[in-house]
C-alpha cells in the first residue's frame, strides 16, 4: 500500500461529518469502487429492499446497507455478516416496533457462529464485549449507521434514548465454540455453520462467581441478578446469558444443557409480591406495565422469565475467570438464527 495523502483523507472525513452521517467517530468515505467490492460479496440485487421502517416510511436497500457498512470501517468480506445481522434484527418485533426510537436506547446483540469467525478475525474469546477487533467493532457499527442514515433515526431527534445503554452499536462477537461444552448456538437453533443470532438488548450485567463449584449456587447467583426489580416494567422481563467457558463447563459437567439452564432459571428467577411492592411494581396486567396496587398476596413469587425457550444462551469470553453476563432483552427474542451467505466465488465454484 502506498502512503495515502493525509490531507485529502482528512478533508473527506470532515466532509462526511458535515453531512451529518457520522455516529461521532470518523467514517470511511465511500467511493463507487469500494462499494462495488462490497456488492461483489453478495449475490443479492443491490436494489433489493431489506428493511422498511413504517414509522417514517423509509427503506434500506442492499446498496445503502453496503455504503453504511463500508463507512463503518467494515472490510468487504464482513458484508454478508452485516446483511445476516440486519435480517435477524428485522425479524425482531422490537426492532420494527419503535425500538430504534425508544427511550431505552437499546443495542443489538450480535452473536456469530461458524468457521467465518476465524476467516474474519472475529473475536470470541478475551474481551468480547470490549474493543480491539475490527470485525467486532465495525459490524455492529454498520447496523447503527444504517439506522441513522437509511432510516433517519438520529439522537435527540427521532431517537429519544434517555441514557441509552453502554455498548450501543458495539456488541458483536463470535461464540467461543472451541471452549463451549455444547453445540454451537445457531446449530442448536437449526442453522448449522456460519450464522448470526441477534436481538435487541436493554443492558448487560456481569455475574462474577468463581469461588464455588456448586452449579446450583452459580445458577442461584444468575437468578438473583435476573430477578432484580429495576429491570421490570412489564409483567415479565426476558433475558439471555453470555456464559464464560468456565461457567458453561461447570453447568455442563453437572448435566445441564442450555434448556436445563433456562428451565432452572425461569423457575427460580423473580421476586415476591412484597419485594416488588417495595419498588412500586407489585402488579401487572397481561399486557400492561407494572404499577403499585398493594392488594396481592405478599408471599406470592412472581417469575421474571415467562418462557424458558425465550432464553438465548451463548458461550463467549476467555478461560481467565468465571465471569458471565446476563443480557437483558429490550423486549423479546424471535428465537432463530440467520445463515450467513457463503462467499460468492465459493458458491459459484461449489
Amino acid at each position: 500500500m502506498s502512503a495515502p495523502d493525509p490531507d485529502i483523507a482528512q478533508e473527506a472525513i470532515e466532509y462526511a461529518y458535515a453531512q451529518g452521517w457520522s455516529d461521532g467517530l470518523p467514517l470511511v468515505p465511500v467511493s463507487q469502487p469500494l462499494l462495488d467490492r462490497f456488492l461483489a460479496e453478495t449475490s443479492r440485487d443491490p436494489d433489493e429492499v431489506i428493511g422498511h421502517m413504517p414509522q417514517v416510511d423509509r427503506e434500506v436497500t442492499v446498496r445503502t446497507a453496503a455504503i453504511n457498512a463500508a463507512m463503518a470501517g467494515c472490510l468487504p468480506e464482513y458484508f454478508p455478516v452485516v446483511l445476516a445481522a440486519w435480517e435477524g434484527l428485522m425479524r425482531e418485533r422490537a426492532a420494527k416496533g419503535g425500538g430504534w426510537q425508544s427511550t431505552s436506547g437499546p443495542a443489538p446483540l450480535i452473536v456469530v457462529n461458524g468457521p467465518i469467525r476465524e476467516r474474519l478475525g472475529l473475536n470470541s474469546t478475551g474481551g468480547v464485549f470490549g474493543p480491539g477487533f475490527r470485525a467486532n467493532a465495525t459490524i455492529p457499527r454498520a447496523i447503527g449507521l444504517i439506522v441513522r442514515n437509511a432510516f433517519g433515526v438520529r439522537p435527540h431527534e427521532l431517537e429519544q434514548a434517555t441514557q441509552g445503554i453502554p455498548g450501543r452499536w458495539a456488541i458483536c462477537f463470535g461464540e467461543n465454540e472451541e471452549d463451549s461444552p455444547w453445540a454451537p448456538l445457531a446449530a442448536e437453533l437449526g442453522t448449522p455453520g456460519d450464522a448470526v443470532t441477534t436481538t435487541l438488548l436493554r443492558t448487560s450485567e456481569f455475574v462474577d462467581n468463581r469461588h464455588t463449584q456448586d452449579p446450583e449456587q452459580l445458577l442461584g447467583d444468575f437468578a438473583d441478578t435476573i430477578g432484580r426489580s429495576g429491570s421490570w416494567i412489564f409483567r415479565h422481563a426476558q433475558v439471555g446469558l453470555v456464559l464464560c467457558p468456565e461457567h458453561a463447563e461447570r453447568l455442563a459437567a453437572a448435566g445441564f444443557d442450555r434448556r436445563g439452564v433456562a428451565e432452572w432459571l425461569a423457575e427460580r428467577s423473580g421476586r415476591t409480591t412484597a419485594q416488588l411492592a417495595l419498588a412500586g411494581k407489585d402488579h401487572a396486567d397481561e399486557r400492561g406495565v407494572r404499577f403499585p396496587r398493594g392488594d396481592g398476596d405478599p408471599d406470592a413469587f412472581q417469575r421474571t422469565i415467562a418462557d424458558p425457550s425465550s432464553m438465548l444462551i451463548a458461550v463467549a469470553g476467555a478461560r481467565t475467570a468465571a465471569i458471565s453476563m446476563v443480557v437483558r432483552y429490550f423486549a423479546d427474542w424471535s428465537g432463530g438464527a440467520v445463515p450467513i451467505e457463503a462467499p460468492v466465488a465459493a458458491a459459484v465454484a461449489g
Binding site: A12, Y15, A16, Q19, W21, P29, V30, S31, Q32, P33, L35, P54, Q55, V56, D57, R58, E59, V60, T61, T64, I67, N68, M71, G97, G98, G99, W100, Q101, S102, T103, L145, N149, A150, G152, H156, E157, L158, E159, Q160, A161, G288, V289, F291
Partner: protein, 178 residues
C-alpha cells in the same frame, strides 16, 4: 477524475403537506378517542371524552380504539374507521420516543382525511414530535403539550390534567388555525 463520496441515506420520499380539516362546532359532534397504549393514556382520553360530552355539548364518544402498535402511525384503514364513526379525534398520550412521534403523524393523517384532531404529547418529546411533523411534510403542525411525566400520575391527577387541558383541546378542535 475524482470519485464522488457516496451518500448513505438512500432517497427519502418527499411527503406533501395535507393541510387542516375544516372546523365545526362541538355541539352535536361525535368524538373519537384513539389510545396509544401508554400508561394513563386511556384514562386521560376517556375523561376528555366525558368532559366534551357533558360540558361542551358533544353528542357522544362514538369510537374508542387502542393502537395495536403504539410506535407506528395510523394506516388508511384506521383513519377510514374514524372518519366513518366520528367528527373529530382526540389522541395520545405521547410520552415515549416512538409513540410521541407516531401520535404527531396520526394527527396529521386525521387532518388530511378531514377530521379535526387534538394530539397530546408531554413536553419531553417536543423535538421528536417536530422531527416527525417534518418527515410527514407538515413541519408547522401544532399539537398540545403537557408536563412530563404522565405515566406516574394517580388517577385523580390524570383527571385533573384532562380538565386543565380541556380548553386547549376544545380550541384545537374548533378553531381554524391562523
Amino acid at each position: 477524475m475524482v470519485n464522488p463520496i457516496l451518500d448513505p441515506t438512500g432517497a427519502a420520499p418527499a411527503k406533501s403537506a395535507g393541510g387542516r380539516a375544516p372546523r365545526r362546532p362541538l355541539r352535536g359532534a361525535r368524538v373519537g378517542l384513539l389510545d396509544n397504549t401508554k400508561h394513563n393514556a386511556m384514562l386521560f382520553l376517556q375523561e376528555v371524552g366525558r368532559l366534551l360530552v357533558d360540558e361542551e355539548g358533544a353528542r357522544e364518544v362514538s369510537i374508542v380504539e387502542t393502537k395495536q402498535n403504539f410506535s407506528v402511525p395510523v394506516d388508511d384503514e384506521i383513519v377510514s374507521r374514524y372518519r366513518a364513526a366520528a367528527d373529530l379525534v382526540v389522541t395520545g398520550v405521547g410520552d415515549c420516543g416512538s409513540c410521541s412521534a407516531a401520535a404527531v403523524a396520526d394527527g396529521i393523517a386525521f387532518e388530511k382525511a378531514g377530521l379535526p384532531a387534538a394530539v397530546v404529547l408531554t413536553d419531553a418529546f417536543t423535538t421528536t414530535g417536530r422531527m416527525m411533523a417534518g418527515v410527514q411534510g407538515d413541519p408547522d403542525y401544532e399539537w398540545i403539550t403537557t408536563e412530563h411525566p404522565m405515566a406516574a400520575l394517580t388517577a385523580d391527577e390524570v383527571r385533573d390534567r384532562a380538565r386543565r387541558l380541556l380548553p386547549e383541546i376544545v380550541r384545537t378542535l374548533t378553531e381554524q388555525a391562523a
